[in-house]
C-alpha cells in the first residue's frame, strides 16, 4: 500500500513572548489509501497543529519543518501558496469541529458544495449540482435537492456536519483530515456521523486522518493510532495492538481513565493521571511525561528513546517492552477496567 501522506520529523515552533513554543517536536506519520489514522491526545498536545501544518493552514509566524512531508509523493513544504491551495479542498479536504463556523452563513449550501468542484475541476454548474445532490444523499440527507437552496443556519448541528462531509468529498480527495468532527455533537449524532465517515471512507477509499481526544472514537474508527503527548507521538500501532496491549504509561493511564458500562465495576475508582502537562516553551530534555509517570526514574530525565517493535508499532520510553506490559497488567488488576480492552 503506497502512502498517501508520509511525514518524518515534523516540527512546529511558534514564537511567543517567553521564547519558542515547541508545539510539535518531531513526529513521524504515514497513512495509506483507504486507511484511517487517529491522532489522539489531550488539549495542548499538538494534534491540531499537526493537522493544520499538513494543510498548510498555520499562521505565518509558526515555523514548520520536517525531514520529509510528502503528499502522494510530492513534497508539501516546498510548494508555493498557489500550489497548496490547488491541493487543498481538491486532493486534500478538511472537516472541522464546529460546522457552524466553517460554513459561510451568507451562501447557500448548494453554492458552497459546488464551489470546490467548479474551482478545482472546471466542472460545469450542472455537473457540480448533480454531484452535490448525489453526495448529500450519500451522507444521508433526505430531500437533497431542496436542501441545496438552504442556508447553514437553517440546519441542525448534525446536518451541518453532514454537509461538511459531503463538501469534503466533492472532489473525491485522496486524504481527508477531520479535526474533532463530532466533539460539538450529541452522542447519538456522533455515532451516526462516525458511522457515516467509516462507511464513506470504505466506499471512496480515501485516506482519513481523524484527530480526537476521545478514546472511544479512536477504538471504533481507527486502523492505526498515534497517541500524542506534549508534541510527541509516545505510542503508535494498529488499533488492536495499542488498545489491547498499551505499552506507554500514558496510553495505559488514558485507557484506565474511562469507565466502560457493564465492564468497569460501578462506583469503583477510575484510574487517573496525576499532574499537568509541562510547558513546551524553551528546550525540554528527557521524557516529558516523567512528572506524571509512576515508573519514572533517573534515566527518564536524559532521554525518551523510540523503541520500534515492528514496522508501524513503536513507543517512546526507556523501559523495555516486557516490563511495560507487566506494569500495564498490574494497573489492569487494580481497577479492572482494562479487561474489556483485552477481551
Amino acid at each position: 500500500m503506497s502512502a498517501v501522506l508520509e511525514i518524518t520529523g515534523l516540527k512546529v515552533d511558534i514564537p511567543v513572548s517567553a521564547g519558542d513554543l515547541h508545539a510539535v517536536r518531531g513526529i513521524d506519520l504515514s497513512v495509506g489509501k483507504g486507511e484511517t489514522l487517529c491522532i489522539v491526545g489531550e488539549s495542548g498536545c499538538g494534534k491540531s497543529l499537526t493537522s493544520l501544518s499538513i494543510m498548510g493552514l498555520l499562521p505565518s509566524r509558526a515555523r514548520v519543518s520536517a525531514d520529509m512531508m510528502n503528499f502522494t509523493g510530492r513534497p508539501l513544504l516546498s510548494m508555493s501558496e498557489t500550489e497548496l491551495s490547488d491541493i487543498r479542498g481538491d486532493r486534500m479536504a478538511m472537516i472541522f469541529q464546529e460546522p457552524m463556523t466553517s460554513l459561510n452563513p451568507s451562501y447557500s449550501i448548494g453554492n458552497q458544495l459546488m464551489e470546490p468542484l467548479i474551482r478545482h475541476r472546471n466542472a460545469s454548474k450542472d455537473e457540480a449540482r448533480k454531484r452535490a445532490i448525489y453526495l448529500l444523499e450519500k451522507v444521508g440527507i433526505t430531500a437533497a435537492e431542496s436542501r441545496l437552496n438552504q442556508f447553514p443556519h437553517q440546519l441542525s448541528g448534525g446536518l451541518r456536519q453532514r454537509v461538511m462531509i459531503a463538501m469534503a468529498l466533492m472532489c473525491d480527495p485522496e486524504l481527508i483530515i477531520a479535526d474533532e468532527p463530532t466533539t460539538a455533537l450529541d452522542v447519538t449524532i456522533q455515532a451516526q456521523i462516525l458511522h457515516l465517515l467509516a462507511e464513506l471512507r470504505r466506499e471512496f477509499n480515501s485516506a482519513l486522518i481523524l484527530i480526537t481526544h476521545d478514546l472511544g472514537v479512536v477504538a471504533r474508527v481507527a486502523d492505526k493510532v498515534a497517541v500524542m503527548y506534549a508534541g510527541r507521538i509516545v505510542e503508535t500501532g494498529r488499533v488492536e495492538e495499542v488498545f489491547n496491549n498499551p505499552l506507554h504509561p500514558y496510553t495505559q493511564g488514558l485507557i484506565n481513565c474511562i469507565p466502560i458500562p457493564g465492564k468497569t465495576a460501578r462506583g469503583s475508582r477510575l484510574g487517573s493521571i496525576p499532574g499537568i502537562v509541562p510547558t513546551l516553551i524553551g528546550e525540554t530534555q528527557g521524557c516529558s511525561f516523567r512528572n506524571r509517570c509512576a515508573y519514572a526514574g533517573p534515566a527518564c530525565e536524559i532521554d525518551d528513546p523510540v523503541v520500534e517493535l515492528a514496522p508501524g508499532r513503536s513507543y517512546r520510553c526507556v523501559l523495555p517492552e516486557d516490563q511495560l506490559k507487566r506494569q500495564g497488567d498490574e494497573t489492569i488488576g487494580k481497577t479492572g477496567s482494562l479487561e474489556a480492552a483485552s477481551a
Binding site: 499532574g275 509541562p278 528527557g286 530525565e301
Partner: protein, 306 residues
C-alpha cells in the same frame, strides 16, 4: 512566572500536579501596559497636559486675564518675539502661554465632568438593560434610538442659546447628551457577562441583584467603561471647542482653547500662529486621550484562555 507549591515528589524542570502557572491578572496587565507604546505615549502627553493645567497658578508667567493694549499680538519667540511672552500675546495683549495653561484646566474639567456625568447615566441605563432585559431593555433601547436621532451640536446650540452660555451649562449639556455610547457598549458587555456561569452561580448562592451587579458584573465590564470614557472625554473636549468657537460655549474672558481658536480666526492670514497654537494643543490632547483609550482597550482585552 511559575510558583511551585507543595513540591513533594516533583521532578526538576517539569510542573507537578499542584503548581500554579502563569502571572496574576495584575502582573499580566502591568506587562502589557509597558509593552504598549501607543498607550505610553498617550499617557505621557496627557500627563504633561495635566501637569500644565495643575501647575498653571504657580508656573504661568502672567495673569491670563491681564490685558495690555501696548503689547498686542506679539509673536512667539521663534518668530522674533521675546522670552517675556514665550508664545506671544493675543489680540488684547494677554500672555498666550498663560492662557494656554489655564485653558488646559477648562478643557480637562469639561472633558472629565461631561464624561463622568454621561458615564453615570449611560452605564446605569446600559447595565440595567443588559442585565434585566425584557421591558427594561426595550425602554432603554428606545431611549438610545431617540438620543441617537438628535444632532448633538444643534441641540447643544439651542439649549445654550436658550439658557445662555457658561462653563456649567456646557458641562451639563454635554453630560446629558453624550451617554449614548456608554449605554450601547455597557448594554452589550453586560449581556455577555450575564451569560457566564459565575453569575448563575452567584444567583444560586443567593446573592442580591445589587451585589451581583457590583461584584460580578461591574469588575468585568469596567475596562469597556474606561475605554468609552476616554473616547467620550475627547468627544466632549472637541464639542466644547466647537461650541466655544461658535460663541455658544464657554464665554470670554475664560481662556478656553476653543475660544482661543475662535479669537484667532480673524488673524488666520496675518498671524497664523494665533490659531495654530491652541489648535495644535487641542489636537495633541485629543490624540493623547484617544491613544490611551485604544491602549486600554488593547491591554485589558479578555485574558487569553490557554
Amino acid at each position: 512566572m511559575t510558583i511551585a507549591i507543595d513540591d513533594k515528589g516533583a521532578r526538576p524542570g517539569l510542573p507537578s500536579a499542584n503548581q500554579i502557572t502563569g502571572p496574576t491578572p495584575g502582573q499580566q496587565l502591568r506587562k502589557r501596559i509597558f509593552g504598549h507604546y501607543g498607550l505610553l505615549i498617550g499617557a505621557g502627553i496627557l500627563g504633561l497636559i495635566f501637569l500644565m493645567a495643575l501647575s498653571a497658578p504657580f508656573l504661568a508667567p502672567h495673569d491670563p486675564y491681564a490685558q495690555s493694549l501696548l503689547a498686542r499680538v506679539k509673536p512667539p519667540v521663534w518668530l522674533g518675539g521675546s522670552w517675556e511672552n514665550m508664545l506671544g500675546t493675543d489680540v488684547l495683549g494677554r500672555d498666550y502661554l498663560s492662557r494656554l495653561m489655564y485653558g488646559a484646566q477648562i478643557s480637562l474639567l469639561i472633558g472629565f465632568a461631561a464624561a463622568f456625568i454621561s458615564g453615570v447615566i449611560g452605564t446605569a441605563m446600559g447595565v440595567a438593560a443588559g442585565y434585566f432585559g425584557g421591558k427594561v431593555d426595550l425602554v432603554v433601547t428606545f431611549l438610545i434610538t431617540v438620543r441617537l436621532s438628535m444632532p448633538v451640536v444643534l441641540v447643544a446650540l439651542a439649549v445654550v442659546a436658550l439658557v445662555g452660555g457658561s462653563l456649567e451649562v456646557v458641562i451639563a449639556v454635554l453630560g446629558l447628551l453624550l451617554w449614548d455610547r456608554y449605554a450601547v457598549v455597557m448594554r452589550s458587555a453586560t449581556m455577555q457577562i450575564r451569560q457566564m456561569d459565575y453569575v448563575a452561580s452567584a444567583r444560586a448562592v443567593g446573592c442580591s441583584t445589587s451585589r451581583i451587579l457590583l461584584t460580578e458584573i461591574m469588575p468585568n465590564i469596567v475596562n469597556n467603561l474606561i475605554v468609552v470614557a476616554t473616547l467620550e472625554m475627547a468627544h466632549a473636549i472637541l464639542l466644547e471647542a466647537a461650541l466655544s468657537f461658535l460663541g455658544m460655549g464657554v464665554q470670554p474672558p475664560l481662556p478656553s482653547w476653543g475660544l482661543m481658536v475662535a479669537e484667532g480666526k480673524d488673524y488666520i492670514l496675518f498671524e497664523p500662529w494665533l490659531i495654530t497654537i491652541p489648535g495644535v494643543a487641542l489636537f495633541m490632547m485629543v490624540l493623547a486621550i484617544n491613544l490611551m483609550g485604544d491602549g486600554i482597550r488593547d491591554v485589558t482585552a479578555p485574558e487569553n484562555r490557554n
